[in-house]
Each structure stands twice: as structure tokens, then as C-alpha cells.
Amino acid sequence: MAEQPSGVTQSPRSLLERLPSLTILGPLVALLLAVIFFSLQSERFLTGQNFSLILQQVSVVAVLAIGQTLIILTAGIDLSVGFVMALGTMVMAKFAVELGMPPLLAILCGMAVTTAFGFLNGFLITRFKLPPFIVTLGTMNIAFALTQIYSRAQTVSNLPDAHLLWGNTFRIGETVFTYGVVLVIVLYLLVWFFLSETAPGRHLYAVGNNPEAARLMGIPTQRVLLLTYTIAGFFYGIAGWLLISRTSVADPNAGQTENLETITAVVLGGTSLFGGRGMVLGTLLGAIIVGVFRNGLTLMGVSSVYQVLITGILVILAVVADQISKRRG
């Protein structure tokens, strides 16, 4: 039958449409290919322990990248991510160690600081209608300088147990996992649910996709944006806690390359930098892909310069493949 069905009918293709969309299939395939490749190169690669290790290594970037994903879905960008996190870790550590604050309270203070920075970003962007790139370029410098000044460039160690919570481990069979890894997965699932199943989550997509239409349809776009940046700041706080748990210290020089790393994860995960399209679970895959390459190339004995080269090529190939698959689809 050449004729289109007239009127609206439930399409028989709905089952197909319920499959994960191509945006998540792309990174999944990339990840699988990488895993197969490295397994052939080194018999030490494909072990539960190594996989657990990779998850630990990417966990901080993965949590930062949740915030970055939310922001990029609104067609924004955040260059301040890692720097804000570093400031947060300093507050968590110094408030506990030097001011003698109860550990959990100190951690909350640190998260309050990162959340406040997120709010500041969002406030400047919405109140003065400034481009996110430039606002976060500014707050990136400010957060960095504050961290250096406040810490006098000194690493803070001897932290209380609460700070190290997420570094604790448990076993599944032979393999040791950290609580931090579980936290990361739980956070991703929560945010995935939020984005795809709740009204505010859908509004975030709408604001990124067509802000004027969203506004005309009665979505408080400015409030959505402000909230998005603020929530992102909250995630930076959690990432900071994870980082402290992983390294056992607060390091004033942490987080300096995380802006590009999180953006790479988001893009490898299939989210569009133009906003409104993408999936947060893709970002997790994107972060893991980067970790797999770093780990696999080190196991192969490839030096860091060549790792950079390969990452560069990989990033481009990933988006090229994504584009081609979309045209086919």
C-alpha cells in the first residue's frame, strides 16, 4: 500500500522506536570495539579487577560530567567544573582539619560552596543574559585563584574517615569495588530518570532545544537555567567528595583539565553541544571510553604523547561515526 494512513494511528514501528536511540548505540558500539581491541592486545585487560579499576579512575570525571551534561542539554557550557570542585574539596578538608568542624558538616559546607558557584554561574547567565562560555571562563579563574589563596597552594591531608567514605571497598567474587563506583552508577540512574521521566527534566530539554518556544509554552526558562547550573554545582560538590575519598587528600591543583575532559565525555556520549539532544547515560559511556583508552594504552606501553594523539583522533572519529549513523538512520 503506497497510501499513507490518513489520520493518526499508533504506528506498528513503535517497538522499534522503543529501542535505545542511536545516540546511545553509537558510544556503546565504540566502547565494545575498544574493549575487544585491547583484549586482543593484552591478556591483563579483560579482568573484573581491571574493569573495576577503570570505573574508579573515571568516577570523578563521570560525576562532574553529569553536571556538564545537564548544562550542555540547555545549550550551555561550563568551563569552571574542575576548578569549582577543587575549591569545594579545600573547604571540606580545611573546615574539618583546621576549624575542627564535624566532618559531615565540613563536607556539606564544601558542597554548599560548589553549589553557590553553580548558582553564581546561573545567575550571571540568566540575569544579564551572558554567554555561558564567558561567564564560566571568568568563574573558572576566580575559583582557581580562591583555591590557591585559601590553601596557600598546600595539599591538605590526614582527613577524617567521613571524607574517605567512598573509597571503602566491598567484594563481588574476586573483584574489589569501591562504594564510590556504586554511587556514580546510582547518580546516573537517578539523573536519567529525572531527565526522561519527570516534567522538569523534559523542560530542560525543551529549553535547550528551543528556548523561545519553551517560554511561550509557559516554561519558566530562566528558572530552569538557573536551577540547572545550581544543580550542576551540587554535583561538583559530590565529585569533590569522591575525589577526596579516592586520593585521601585535598589537592589545590586538582581539576584543572576536567573541563575539556567532561566535555569530551559528553560529546563522545552522543549529546549535542547545541542543546536539547542527548542522554546522560551516553556521558557515562563516554567517560568510560576515555578511561578504557588510557588504561589499555598504558597496558600496551604506549607513551603519554601517543595517548594524546590517539585521543584526538578518537574524538573526531566518534563524532564522524555518530553523524554518519544518524544520516543512515
Binding site: G7, V8, E197, N209, E212, A213, G218
Partner: protein, 281 residues
Amino acid sequence: MELNPVQNARPNPVLEPTPAPKPKVVLEARGLVKRYGHVTALDGADFELREGEILAVIGDNGAGKSTLIKALSGAIIPDAGEIYLDGKQVHFRSPIDARKHGIETVYQDLAVAPAMTIAENLFLGREILRPGWFARLIRWIDKKKMLEEAITDMQDLKIGIRSMSQAVETLSGGQRQGVAVARSAAFARHVVIMDEPTAALGVKEGNMVLELIRRVRDSGLPVIIISHNMPHVFEIADRIHIQRLGKRAAVVNPKKISMSDTVAVMTGAKTLAELNPEVLA
């Protein structure tokens, strides 16, 4: 249209005859002014929409029609002038305010989120939530229900859409317009405003929209329609508001005035004084 009792956001338009001898004014504006830099889009425009009528707004390009209805629907805030809804003055600070008062608008540029599905676009900003306090708290949306409702809403406009879960960007221009029109018709409780809803539509589809507009009117809601299509206007409108140079030039009765006189007023070729007072409405 079937009404689902669980769903309180969209009350059923009650069908009742409209015998009112002295028409009540639903939406009124006086002396609206809106300036964009050095351009004056609205220059003291008046406006009046009566109960149960279809009011057509016509005018040259740039006459200020879209600006007028944007002011009425809260999309812009006028620099001066007053707006009254049911005789009470209102100050719409945003489209949300107007929507809360039951005013639904189809904007000229459609206001859709292209990457989102048709169903999502239909319910954007007023998603159907799942039942239960927890679902309300986290504002958990009911996707299945939204899909079903969307199918119902779009049924009348036979515009050949395969699936409600397809992205709006995969639709043709006319199909997108259909989505925007269906959205406003489905949600209106007070006033429907449509800015050139048939501009992109084919003959068949255009007639479908006109039919829909009549049905909305017959259900008791007044409709404002902006159009450049004179035959459409004369076919459907109860009264015609002629906008010129940012002002209301005249309101005429399509049953009494000729199409050519109407165009003459619109373009400034004829003044009000040259018209037979009989044709005014």
C-alpha cells in the same frame, strides 16, 4: 472528544447554544503601545473580543497584528495601554500568566521544540502526571497517557502523521502547524488565538483547521484568527478587526462589507468616513 475523569487539566468544552442578545466582551485592550527601538509596532491600538465569536484580525505586513496578539497572550509586555479580561484589568507578565487565564495561542513561528516528539510538544509545560502523591512530588510524567491523548487531539486534523512519538523536526511545515493548532484547541478554556494558522496548509488541511475553529467557537470559546487569506476570513469570521500602522483602523461586519472595501481600508485607500456606517461592527 472523550473526556477522561482523571485528567483535570483539560475540561470538556460544554456545548450550549448562545442566544445572548447583548454580547459580552471577553477580552479588551485600550491604547496598546509597543516600540522596538525606533519602530513603533503598536501605536495606541484598541481591541475587543466578544463572547462566542470568531474575530479575524487582518492588516498589511508589519501592521502590528502579531505584536498585538503577543501583548494579549503575555509573550511581550506592552509599553503602555490596558488589557481587560472579562472586564477585569490584567497584567500578563509572561505567557504563563495568560495560560493560567485559559488563553491559548498559536504563534506565527509555531513555538515548537523540534527535537521533541509530537506528544511532548502537545503537552509541553503541562505534562500529564502519574497518579499518586509521590509521582506528583517528583512530577513523574505519564508518557503512555500523553501519547493516547495526543492521538485523540490530532485525530480531527487529518494531516497524515505516522506516529505521535516522532520528533516534530521530521514533520513538514504544514504538519507542524497542525500540531500547534491542535495544541491550542485542546487546551483552551477561555480564548483561542491563532496567528496565521493556515498559512502553510494545503486546501484540504486548511479547511480542516477552519472546521476546527468553528467547532471551538461552537463549544463556546471565542477565537481570534490572524490571516492574510481573505476568502478564509470572509468564510469564517463573525467580525473583522482591521489593523493599520499599529492602530485599529476599523471593525467591520463581513456579511455587510465587500472584500474590496475591506482591502481598501486595510491599505489606506479608503478612510473610515468613506464607508457606509452600516458595514461597521
